[in-house]
């Protein structure tokens, strides 16, 4: 499972080694890895440094000024921001890129270490930070208020060197999450503007919102951390990462006409080994048959050369396919095969438009290659996790998380963190962990529980569990909750869609006997349907009560102002009386008219 990790670590180390040389520098790299089921993982990484003294003197070179000023204003030591969309299919794609440390749950996630002595000061700075970031990144980050903020105890560890980390007296960790937030082109625009190349050159020129937001899974990450190498000057490092899994078939569709049309039957790729294969029945062949692509096809554009600002010692593009596969490149691009036999990197001139072609297997002249050898088998992740709702009805529900340790011989220890909205009131006494195949709860699975109960409309529930799963086993973690009824004005405009519950964050502490420095994964978000009122109900009530009042008032008013008499007591009403009355009126009018004439003559 550590192949991808070791590769990345090697890359990180090379960055680090060169990072010591100069205080302000910039690197970028794109790693492409074909995955099973016709998918392609593209990991973009941009990293720049500035010395802390230059940063404090407002002297920005590669570090984005707009973000730097916000960080200084809000007293932020370390910042992590995530925009994610989609679902990482761990069953088929295996371990996550960067061991899951550069991704968030669906929506927007933000955690930061703020300089603050007291809780109020931290809250104030946090609100300053979220509001400023919401303006910068065109996201509703200002919605991260008290109800969506937690202070994790075990889950997150600072990546950089914070002063006085041991006492942790003057830095505070706050974590906020918005699972409902959409991630779209307007978030990519500011992300690219933070880069020294502004997305105009280098690998950033491949980033196109139309492809990025069509991906099966994508995650944009921004990490800012202070790093103090022993004996060296402290630097502030910003790392921007975009990971996406593209469906190759899908991204090859032309942009103007992306709607798939049925393929004519003679062009269908069928699995000939099936016994029922005939002219009118077809079982689709293995997807890997279509593992051929070019950069311009999957990203919709050519790469505009290497970024002239970036460190030339870091190759801008790397591809992880076996050396036995041929790769065609544009003129001027130099291919370097790595010693591990599984990856190769490309050196790219800065003034050329670059394309990379991965031809179909067999077509490239390499005969006798099966589809199995064409792509690397993904590493097995240390843990699988899935979470879902149980129960039915509008009043109560339950949450079940299935955690599976795939390793045959190593125990996994991790922290499972949930930050739940206040309107999901959990019953902590129902929390239990059960091993698959056993009856009843197993108390040894949950080792430590940190809990902070919700306060209605003020803060959400925070639940952190330190758990241990024995090798090759599955654990069911369940708890029940009650759904509360919101006030009329607290419902969002699309209340009937449901309320999103943020992803659970799983931080892996230990695999077997070796401690894991940073590795995490996230479950999917959940959609909680709360009892919603009929929103036209108040209007019905108003109309009904108005009608009732009108009727009552009318009747009462009639009774008060009219005198009721028996029919025979009142004046007789017949056609004759009516006639006489009308005649009398007419004669009156005539008289008046005559009188007026006489008056005028006089």
């Amino acid at each position: 499972m550590h192949r991808f990790l070791s590769f990345l670590l090697l890359f990180l180390f090379s960055l680090y080694a060169s990072g010591v040389a100069s205080a302000a520098d910039y690197h970028e790299q794109l790693v492409l890895q074909p995955l099973p089921l016709s998918a392609l993982l593209a990991s973009f990484n941009f990293r720049s440094n500035t010395s802390l003294s230059a940063f404090e003197a407002h002297n920005y070179r590669f570090f984005p000024r707009s973000l730097g000023q916000i960080l200084q204003h809000a007293g932020t030591r370390e910042l992590h921001l995530r925009f994610s969309l989609g679902h990482w299919d761990a069953e088929s794609w295996g371990a996550r890129p960067w061991n899951g440390t550069r991704e968030g749950g669906t929506g927007v996630e933000l955690w930061a270490w703020l300089e603050a002595e007291e809780e109020d000061e931290a809250n104030h700075r946090w609100s300053t930070l979220t509001n400023a970031l919401s303006g910068l990144f065109c996201a509703s980050l200002n919605f991260i208020d008290g109800t969506r903020t937690t202070r994790p105890v075990m889950s997150f560890r600072p990546e950089g060197t914070l002063p006085n980390t041991n006492s942790s007296s003057n830095t505070q960790l706050l974590y906020g999450v918005l699972p409902r937030e959409v991630v779209c082109t307007e978030n990519l625009t500011p992300f690219l503007k933070l880069l020294p190349s502004k997305g105009k050159a280098g690998i950033a020129s491949l980033l196109d919102g139309h492809k990025l937001f069509d991906a099966s899974w994508q995650s944009m990450a921004i990490d800012v951390r202070p790093i103090c190498p022993p004996g060296g000057e402290c630097v502030l490092e910003i790392e921007q990462t975009i990971d996406m899994v593209l469906d190759i078939e899908r991204s090859k569709r032309p942009r103007g006409n992306p709607i798939p049309r049925p393929v004519p039957s003679h062009e269908l790729k069928c699995d000939m080994t099936k016994p029922y294969q005939s002219d009118d029945t077809c079982y689709p062949a293995d997807y890997t048959a279509s593992q051929d692509w070019t950069l311009s096809q999957v990203f919709g554009r050519l790469m505009k050369g290497a970024c002239p600002l970036s460190d030339p010692s870091v190759p801008p593009v790397c591809l992880r396919v076996p050396h036995s596969r041929d790769v065609y490149v544009s003129v001027g691009v130099r291919e370097m095969k790595n010693a591990d036999g599984l990856s190769r990197c490309f050196e790219v001139p800065s003034d050329a438009e670059v394309d990379i072609v991965l031809p179909q297997i067999g077509q490239a002249g390499v005969t006798g290659h099966t589809a199995n050898g064409a792509i690397l088998t993904p590493d097995t992740p240390p843990l699988y996790a899935e979470r879902s709702f149980t129960g039915y009805g509008q009043e109560r529900g339950g949450v079940q998380t299935i955690l599976t340790n795939p390793s045959p011989d190593k125990e996994v220890e991790f922290v499972y963190m949930e930050s739940l909205p206040w309107f999901m009131r959990i019953y902590l006494h129902t929390l239990q962990a059960r091993l698959d195949g056993q009856n009843g709860a197993d108390n040894s699975l949950i080792q430590e529980v940190y809990y902070r109960p919700a306060v209605d409309r003020a803060r959400g529930t925070q639940l952190e569990l330190r758990m241990r799963i024995p090798p090759a086993s599955t654990v069911f973690l369940t708890y029940d909750f009650e759904k509360s009824i919101l006030r009329y004005t607290e419902y969002p405009p699309d209340a009937n869609r449901g309320f999103d519950v943020a992803a659970a964050v799983i931080t892996i502490l230990r695999v077997g006997q070796e401690a894991v420095s940073t590795s995490s994964l996230r479950t999917t978000t959940l959609l909680l349907s709360l009892p919603t009122p009929d929103f036209s109900m108040p209007y019905n009530v108003i109309i009904f009560t108005s009608t009732a009042i009108a009727l009552a008032f009318g009747g009462l008013f009639n009774i008060l102002v009219r005198r009721f008499v028996a029919a025979d007591e009142g004046p007789e009403v017949s056609i004759k009386t009516l006639k006489t009355r009308i005649a009398a009126r007419l004669s009156d009018l005539v008289k008046k008219f005559k009188q007026a004439k006489i008056d005028r003559k006089e």
Partner: protein, 380 residues
């Protein structure tokens, strides 16, 4: 007679520099779509095509406030991810590569809209989400959504009334937050929305009269919904064809004259009476006065010595006051540092607590005592 003639000439001579000074020096645009849900795709497309037009004519993103209540571009229903089209020919992707949305999703509310106009926002509000106009700013306010007689619905959950809007504009005028406003609205019974305005220097136009609907123009069968409204479509047609660049001399009157019942299928309305100089002055305003970014620079020509003296005196007072405030602050800081030195720091950070069974027996004891107490009370 002669005297009055001379007076008129004098008046004109006096007024001439005043009219030069009355030009605007910045352009802003507030573009608001107020409907959520996929079937209202056309309202977002309306607003995004306006956004494209004002950006094409030079208003920078920092001076455009764009409010989009829902996400159409990255909506799972959208067959064309990352795009919004306002025409079935799909020639122009309105979402493009470079878009900045200032208010989106649940942020688009009546409250936020009125707070934006009147600039009654908290300290923490970032500048990009504020309308930082002054009395030399021309503002284009474009709204679209579902509305009715004297109201416009926001996200199908709340409404803004014509009176609310009129009061917001009046407050803007009182706070010297605009020079001239062009208010455009595309919704059913749109003309009722501007009927209550009472602040000066506003030109208002709407898509349809009282009891008239505002119709969509056409649908894209691959997107699956209507993509633009008629009124906006013909406005854009005029702007694209006649106002090709910032140097266009087309006037607001030309635009209004292009409105045609045969095309729009409703009676588009115009209101000039609030404008200084009435219909004639309003109609002669250039389109680019509102849709473009015209940067007139105002130079103080004549030296006003008394004003300068006053300003000097004022700045001196301000400096003195600042110094005083600094002194007071420093004194306070000294006091507070002394005070904090006296008291050791107390950390008031509430963190999640570990659940332990350490004091299991005490808890049980408490429970038992409480139960016993109740039982004793019952027995008494």
């Amino acid at each position: 007679m002669k005297l009055s003639g001379i007076a008129a000439v004098l008046a004109a001579a006096l007024l001439a520099p005043a009219t030069v000074a009355a030009e605007h020096t910045s352009n802003w645009a507030v573009l608001v779509s107020t409907s959520r849900f996929w079937f209202n795709y056309r309202h977002l497309a309306n607003v995004l095509s306006m956004y494209r037009t004002v950006k094409r004519l030079g208003i920078p993103d920092s001076q455009i406030i764009l409010m989009l209540p829902d996400d159409m571009a990255c909506n799972p229903r959208n067959a064309f991810p990352g795009t919004v089209y306002s025409n079935a020919d799909r020639a122009v992707d309105l979402y493009g590569d470079n878009i900045e949305v200032d208010y989106r999703g649940y942020e688009v509310t009546v409250e936020n809209f009125i707070r934006l106009l009147t600039d009654r926002v908290g300290d923490e509000m970032p500048r990009s989400k504020r309308l930082l106009t002054d009395d030399r700013s021309n503002i284009l306010v474009y709204m679209t959504g579902h509305g009715g007689n004297e109201f416009l619905k926001f996200q199908d959950a709340e409404e803004i009334g014509a009176f609310d809007l009129a009061d917001a504009f009046e407050q803007m005028w009182e706070k010297k937050r605009y020079h001239e406003i062009l208010f455009m609205i595309d919704t059913c019974q749109a003309n009722t929305m501007y009927s209550k305005l009472y602040s000066p220097n506003i030109i208002a136009t709407g898509s349809s009269e009282l009891d008239q609907s505002s119709y969509s123009h056409h649908a894209d069968n691959d997107v699956g919904v209507a993509v633009i409204d008629r009124y906006t479509y013909y406005n854009l047609e005029f702007l694209e064809k006649e106002v090709r660049d910032i140097n266009s001399k087309k006037t607001v009157g030309d635009l209004f004259d292009s409105y045609d019942y045969e095309k729009i299928h409703s009676h588009a309305g115009v209101r000039y009476d609030l404008f200084r100089g009435g219909a004639e002055a309003a109609r002669s305003r250039l389109i680019t006065d509102f849709f473009g970014n015209v940067q007139n620079v105002e130079v103080d020509g004549s030296k006003n010595t008394t004003l300068e003296e006053d300003l000097l005196a004022l700045s001196k007072t301000i400096a003195a006051l600042k110094q005083k405030a600094d002194e007071v602050e420093a004194a306070e800081r000294n006091n507070s540092t002394q005070a904090t030195k006296k008291h050791p720091e107390t950390h008031k950070v509430q963190l999640a607590k570990p659940l332990t069974d350490d004091d299991w027996w005490t808890k049980k004891l408490f429970g038992a005592t409480a139960l016993a107490g109740c039982a004793a009370l019952w027995a008494l």
